[in-house]
Amino acid sequence: MNRKQKIILYRIILTMVLYAVVLLIDNDFELHKYISFVLYVAVYLVIGYDILRKAYKGITNHQVFDENFLMAVATIGAILLGEYSEGVAVMLFYQIGELFQSYAVGKSRRNISELMDIRPDYANLYKDGEVEKVDPDEVEVGSIIVVGPGEKIPIDGVIVNGDTTLDTSALTGESIPTDAKEGSEVISGCINISGVIKIETTREFGESTASKILELVESSGLRKSKSENFITKFAKYYTPIVCYAALALALLPPLFAKFIMGADAQFGTWIYRALTFLVISCPCALVISIPLSFFAGIGGASSQGILIKGSNYLEALSKTGCVVFDKTGTVTMGVFEVSGIHHSDMENKKLLEYAAHAECFSTHPISKSLQKAYGEEIDQSRVSDVQEISGFGISANVDDKNVLIGNAKLMKRKSISFKDCRSVGTVVHVAIDGRYCGHIVISDRLKANSIEAMTQLDMCGVERKVMLTGDTKEVANKVAKQLRINEVYYELLPGDKVDKVERLLMEKKKGENLIFVGDGINDAPVLARADIGIAMGALGSDAAIEAADIVLMDDDPLKIAKAIRISRKCMRVVYENIYFAIGIKVLCLILGAFGMANMWLAIFADVGVMVLAVLNAIRVLFVKSYQNYMQTIEDGYNRNGESYVEENS
């Protein structure tokens, strides 16, 4: 609790004691009316002086209708009507409610900043053999910094000395540590677990990943959702309307009774009912709990490595009808690997050895994958006379044997008979000394979680899944089949992807949103065009963070479904709170108008609804981890399985 909250707490405790004493005295010793008035007003001032002052300031600043004004009028009115104890009680409970609210908000603020605890406080600058602790802002690009075990990496850079394990969980939500050694790029916000490392910085602090992410999270609340704007508007109209209704309730029925019916006006009764109206009219429960729900949703998501740039996107995400995937780097790893060697008349390893050597001067991803598959040191002295035949392949001498390596066109050109390949992927044919020696298939691999991610999306009720790719028909169809995506568009240029997404946007149902998921590398225009653009694997890629609405810190496709689930939960809580709070208020207003609710009920309804709504909102912060989620499903499944067995035995 901060100082302000403590002061209020002491005032509340003091008031409770004084109030109890005054109540006892008042009951036991039939005090004179004026004496009990003075006693109650004294207690009232202890608890309510600041509210009265704020209400007065509001009036002088032409900002009449706020909750301070409502509470001031209602309580002063009650006291003037002779309902001293009610007047004090209403103010007391109102203050308790306010204190609870400010405590709850402060608490969730702290919770969320703990979840996003990646802000580095200092950097250990290494200069002339000495280490100096400095503000990370002062470290220039190209400086050397030292990070010891247990310390946060303050600035992005490359390790120049030492190796270690890094904990990236604050950034990605991934709990398995990653290894880093000399030459590895490291990003700020990670925690160094084991060894001491020296890092040469490649960015300024302000441009580093941790700073960027924090900036993103902190400005996320600035894009407000429709629900939040609705509540702001609602509060703006609701309060004055209830005030005028209260005024009407205080004046019209008695005047009607007096002049038209000729009966007793009963001003006291109607004014009391009008004041009850005012107590109920405070929209606090909504005004606080709706933004709090979104805040908690965004905070909970960021703890899972899902950064959402605004509550409008969180809201839109809950109405996802169509998910469009880019293939490479999104559902597949985006790295090429040797997936098969066919028709080789020598040992596979030997064929790879020739291929890897012939390609050893090339930096093409395919050459790299060949070298990786070979897995041993390449002896460049064995290779001579390398000729790159652009668009066809390579001709080189390895161990004085002529190796031809390339596509089918190369084999045709050199009139070597070759065998076609039925596998999907890039096929590299190899011929040695003019004799065909088989081919090597290189293909991208599905991410480990891609299939599971599609199932999860189905479970979230996503109706349409579409895959876009620049790759060939065969590759596209094979990947789509494995993932059970039934809509796929292939051989697309980057511009075609925008057109396709625009067509899909026109086809979608009203009220549903289209998500585009890409790796953020060259799909910025598509990310921007979709209702929601999700960029994945964003660690270290500024372009993706800039272009997307939602950023997945790592490249796990499961997080798409997780983000949708978080948004659904958040929206469910938001609607629960809206219906619950407005429902209770309207009910109390009706009861109050007919004299069935007194001020006690009104204040309990007001504070009670607010407390429940705030507690409900905080619930959003807690995201069930994926493991737990799967465990629940599995448990359910196992139980079903068991009962199935029992029935049969």
Binding site: Q63, D66, E218, S219, S220, G221, C284
Partner: protein, 79 residues
């Protein structure tokens, strides 16, 4: 959009006690001369101000604070 005319956009830390007061601050800030747009986030206690072209934040911000104090005297903007 980045790269267009020089639009000044700044974020300030604020202090305010209630969500409704934050909304009132937002309105007051928006109406201040020299401010093109303003958003207040009660949860993160941040105020984001977009200044009009040629406006000097150093001159505008004290006025924004004054206007905010008018609607909610228990608030603070750190600039």
């Amino acid at each position: 959009m980045k790269g267009m005319v020089d639009i000044m956009k700044k974020t300030y830390k604020i202090e305010v006690d209630c969500a409704n007061c934050a909304n009132k601050m937002e309105e007051a800030a928006k109406k201040t001369a020299g401010v093109a747009d303003a958003t207040v986030n009660f949860m993160t206690l941040k105020m984001n101000v977009v200044f009009e072209e040629g406006a000097d934040p150093k001159e505008v911000m004290p006025v924004v604070l004054k206007n905010c104090k008018k609607v909610e005297d228990d608030c603070e903007i750190f600039f």
